[in-house]
Symmetry: C2
Subunit: 239 residues, 2 copies
DNA sequence: TGTATACATCTTAAATACAAGTTGGGCGGA
DNA sequence: TCCGCCCAACTTGTATTTAAGATGTATACA
């Protein structure tokens, strides 16, 4: 877990180093390059990529590329086959569904934990979320709305103040990017529905009705599931 | 996530032959060696280990050791500091607690999902669990009891048939090994309590009372938390 | 005595080189 | 035409080498 981007930009700003670029570690560049390709669809499902191929494109040796592959495998994006290559993990409907189920598990837990927090904390979080762009996305581009949605849900989880859960959750959201990138959940007219669901969820939290918040969350994720064309139902909220 | 042992053949035409694995890959040996040392306490919290050190001990080059370090970092065991070394992540009480919270989140979800399954499936799982060694540990060594406990809980999660959740969960259990290795939760007289809790949980599942199963689970994990000396309470079960 | 600086010695980062396994296509024979 | 074999071209796995950053210590100086 820990950080997906181990490169904290500590050193860059102050010292105007002579070489203008290339200060980034090569392993990092490789990681971001491949991941970007994964997310924007340059490397489609089932594609087999090789270390040498990427190394050549980025003009570096295979060593940092291998490092990046390992990282991406750990995150569930790639599957490495010895002496064969790195398979871009195909996203099956079952996997997409399972991913959303995992999100439901973690976000529900976060709400449960918040339920036993002082009432004023719930109010505070709820109020904060009501002012979040994900509840009032006027003027946001699709990409911005996408990011707002991510931040909205991440905030709920982080409010539970459980580092391990937060780590697991952020890894999940990254994986989901590959799915939602093609689902266009955040373009109108879907956007109206999503925004309303966010608002209802935040309101329930503010008012301390965590059971209702969990119902809203369940409905929200079920809606997402339908939007990306996955059939079947979620497990009922644990209540 | 995916699997720690990439030897499993999951899908597609890639799998084909099962490699006879004449000699274990060096990277694998390095991974297991370091992990074993981590779990049995050879490398204590906060210890800083280096690639060269391990490579020399195992008589291999640093390359596979680096690979193992990366893997262990992804699992949360190590934290890599550039040009410094690999820090054995210290387990704070807060982290231990968070780990158990994450387990609670995922196992509770599994039970929720089972709740919407056909009744006979619940009965089947419950009956299977009642016959599990974790409910009748006579003649088991401490280590075997430890493993039985792991398998018992893993079975609950896997029954939910949600691959992503299962993956997340198995990663968590591995991390918890480092904690419980020193907690001796499975030695008598703790063992009697733990066994009873397992039995009650399995019985509740068999009888289709998932709400009660979740209560048992909550109590069980809270007991573990106390056993390893972590204070504070869990969030109430979501009900 | 206290502080700053130079250096010796750690460490990892990345490039390169070499070894070994897998695949698929071409070729020959039935 | 079809089947089996062999080889060439990929691929990754591991080792070795080179470079560069970080640290701690010893020493010079105030």
């Amino acid at each position: 877990m820990s950080n997906t981007t181990p490169s904290d930009s500590v050193s860059t700003a102050l010292t105007s180093s002579a070489p203008p670029a290339a200060s980034q570690p090569a392993a990092d560049r490789a990681y971001r390059h491949v991941k970007a390709g994964l997310l924007d669809g340059s490397y489609p499902d089932g594609h087999l990529l090789s270390e040498g191929e990427i190394a050549q494109a980025l003009e570096m040796s295979r060593t940092p590329v291998r490092e990046a592959f390992l990282h991406l495998q750990a995150e569930g994006f790639l599957r490495l086959y010895p002496k064969r290559g790195a398979l871009v993990v195909p996203i099956t409907p079952a996997e997409a569904r399972s991913l959303l189920e995992a999100r439901l598990a973690l976000e529900s837990f976060a709400i449960d934990k918040l339920a036993s927090a002082p009432a004023e904390q719930l109010t505070s979080i709820g109020t904060e979320l009501l002012e979040h762009p994900a509840c009032d996305p006027a003027g946001l581009s699709d990409a911005e709305m996408h990011e707002a949605d991510r931040a909205f849900h991440a905030r709920i989880v982080s409010a539970a103040d459980s580092p391990v859960v937060t780590d697991l959750y952020s890894a999940l959201r990254e994986r989901q990017l590959r799915i939602t990138a093609t689902a266009r959940t955040h373009e109108s007219p879907r956007r109206t529905v999503v925004t309303e669901q966010h608002t209802r969820l935040a309101t329930a939290l503010r008012d301390g009705d965590t059971a209702d918040a969990k119902r809203c969350l369940h409905e929200h994720l079920a809606h997402t599931m339908r939007a990306i064309g996955v059939s079947g139902d979620f497990p009922a909220p644990g209540q």
